[in-house]
Symmetry: C2
Subunit: 337 residues, 2 copies
């Protein structure tokens, strides 16, 4: 069975986009529900998703485990998995890690570009690594089955998260620095450590992460994937498009500045190009997910390799990392025996 | 199989009390997590419970469905089901009904003594019945599988909730007015309507609800249960002790006054007796749950009837009322076929 999983999107969700997910054959999508929102605001975003689940049950439903991806395929729908690109939803309260996991959160970045209470983001000048609270939260995320995502984190913080975490972590949406140097792309050192620890990299088609930007070709993108497979192994890579469809440019401004500055911050953009960049020709929206399969075959991947990159690897990762460590229940059973 | 379920407690939880639940053979307890708390404060209370679940996995775990009661019995533990005695945790936001259900809330009172956004409490002079938002929330609670509890509600509001709700409701902790007239006890009319709609009454041993107060005897209590069984039928009754163990009197003051008044409100107490009343001799804590079985046998119940009142009826009610109406998932499956 071949599965199609996109492990990062933040679109201006609508029935149109949910139908495009079906047209693209996506069995699962990891959607961002938080950039800078606090707990209550994140819950409001979950409430919006609940209304979409109620309204479009023939297209989407909330995913919680790998088996939901299988159920999605069986029923011709797309399983939606929640993720946060920042640790803002847990505020200063470690107890919210479990609460948010219960509400379905499956990925959480420890930082989004800036220093957070937990770690350092990729745009800071200095990188202090995991903070005191950061270590506590990593441990708690490990316990409940909430995956650590370091896509927007700085290098030392990322390496420390990989090392300190007892379960594999993810970089859901980034590309290798060797192909396109950018603050958001990752060094060989990070990618090797990620792979060795059983972690996963999701390749992004967001133009600022691409060689040649919006002009990047499918051939170049898939040849980069082939090179990364050599570096990390065929089992450690998947797709995380970072598709930001149908949003006005005010949204990329919100992503970059949140409430932390009153000034303009262009992030990966510039004063000359402050908005969302144009998508590359080979990837406009979810309907193009199959293009990646074509590109991977052309780049020399065999059928098994293609299936792993298109979703098989993420599915295995979901199976292994979304549920709590079973200590409690087992302890209870042992006590009862 | 005989099950023991107490469908309402609010104790000053501790390892001692969890061990007493085990000594009393309780397979499930519905615990109050909210009196006046808003959403965020309720989540903080859930976080406290999560720590207890983590710390005492050999004694307790969180219950979500009737099957968790069976799992509790099999593993020698007590399943803890969350309930709110007020609608304060949903604030003015109907979307929080589903969010709280996902976090495990299984009962919610529409009112706690006073007028709420949803309905009228039993201490108000007038009773306006279900409000506009009240009807919307009842419908949403029906959809997700969050049981409406009218223990502290006024009569018209209660009758309207029974009528408007498409699923059976509960009065988790109250006694019949015919036995002991009190604002918190229920009229024959309410009890009949409750029974005819498939709802459940949980008998309380809180002294203010008892004939003779703290001096009430087991014989009198169980003979009242026998009379109620004649009125409501043997399938519509269970236990909801309202046990408030180990709390200082400041807690009963919080229950009564919350943040809605700056004055003292004695509720069911009085200036002469403002604190928690003494428990009756036959029920001091969870270890006495078995006394009720003895009393019911003495009052003439057969083994089957005893099993129903001690927990069998609540278990059936849990099985039928804690899960969402299956429209969404079925619609999705239909669409896939």
């Amino acid at each position: 069975m071949t599965y199609r999983i996109d492990c990062l999107q933040y679109a201006n969700w609508s029935e149109k986009i949910f139908r495009q997910m079906r047209e693209g054959g996506l069995d699962a999508v990891h959607v961002t529900i938080t950039y800078h929102e606090n707990f209550r605001e994140t819950v409001l975003n979950i409430e919006r998703w609940n209304r979409w689940f109620e309204r479009y049950p023939d297209l989407i439903f909330q995913g919680r485990t790998g088996d939901d991806v299988r159920r999605a395929k069986e029923t011709g729908r797309t399983a939606i998995f929640f993720g946060a690109q920042n640790c803002s939803p847990i505020e200063d309260d470690i107890g919210l890690v479990e609460v948010l996991h219960t509400l379905g959160l499956r990925f959480m970045q420890l930082t989004y570009n800036n220093q957070s209470l937990l770690a350092t983001g990729c745009y800071e000048a200095d990188d202090m690594g995991l903070t005191r609270m950061g270590r506590e939260v990593v441990e708690e995320m490990n316990r409940v089955g909430l995956v650590i995502d370091m896509s927007h984190s700085a290098e030392r913080s990322t390496l420390e998260a990989i090392e300190y975490s007892t379960r594999p972590i993810a970089i859901t949406h980034a590309n290798p620095e060797f192909w396109h140097p950018a603050k958001r792309n990752k060094s060989d050192r990070v990618l090797r450590a990620l792979a060795e620890s059983g972690g996963m990299l999701g390749f992004s088609v967001y133009p600022h992460h691409l060689q040649g930007g919006s002009g990047c070709t499918l051939e170049s993108f898939c040849s980069m994937i082939a090179q990364t497979a050599e570096l990390m192994g065929i089992d450690r890579i998947g797709i995380g498009t970072d598709l930001c469809q149908d949003h006005p440019d005010s949204v990329v401004e919100w992503m970059r500045t949140g409430r932390w500055t009153k000034k303009i911050d262009y992030g990966e953009g510039s004063a000359a190009a402050p908005g969302f960049p144009d998508m590359p020709d080979f990837y406009g929206d979810n309907r193009d997910f199959g293009n990646l399969e074509t590109g991977l075959r052309a780049a020399g991947f065999d059928a098994e390799g293609v299936a792993k990159v298109m979703g098989g690897n993420w599915l295995r990762f979901f199976d292994e990392n979304f549920t709590p460590i079973q200590a409690s229940s087992d302890a209870g059973k042992r006590a009862a025996e």
